[in-house]
Symmetry: C2
Subunit: 116 residues, 2 copies
């Protein structure tokens, strides 16, 4: 039985300075939350790795969770959106290009809870 | 370039009462954290959906994140472990059988950040 859908989104070619900037990444995550009308429980949890490192953000949702990890040294940002109610498609490629400068965005969509 | 490994673990046939019990699910998550020597940043975030509903737990790790969502109505629990440093295998089937009564455990292992 399917209990949810998970989007695994890996963005390449991002600007390193954007991936180190918590405000930039947080604003992008808030755009995703708003556009998909996701409901956050509590506050998001954020961590900056400092120096040349990236950032991590996690939101607990009534629909499940949303996460981001950034890797400035590799120009990569990765997102998980796990959602247990149907949601419209999010324009990942366009929005990650706009916010982070991503030049290539791979989206995998997986069922959770279904037997394969 | 690969930046991490993600384990998507879907457990079927779990006991509904275990999936509703935050203490049981939290103890299982703490076992995973300890056995894999994962390093939690801050506190885990937990939410109980109440009544017949399940629980959600999220941990921000220096290695990335660990999450659980439970669905007592379907006897299903789903886990994500996203880790950016190599970790030994965790005995998912045995541990989820022990803690939750899972009768079938599906583990998918995915690279993050690699171009496919």
């Amino acid at each position: 039985m399917k209990v949810g859908t998970e989007w695994l989104v890996d963005a390449h070619g991002c600007r390193a300075e954007a991936l180190r900037d918590l405000a930039v990444v947080r604003e992008l995550m808030e755009t995703i939350l708003q556009r998909l009308e996701l409901r956050v429980v509590g506050e998001g949890a954020w961590h900056e790795f400092g120096g040349e490192g990236g950032v991590t953000g996690l939101y607990l949702l009534t629909e499940s969770h949303l996460s981001v990890h950034t890797y400035p040294e590799s120009a990569i940002a990765t997102f998980n959106l796990y959602c247990c109610r149907p949601r419209p498609d999010f324009p990942w490629s366009a929005e990650l290009a706009r916010a982070l400068g991503a030049t290539e965005v791979n989206v995998r969509i997986l069922d959770r809870g279904s037997r394969r």
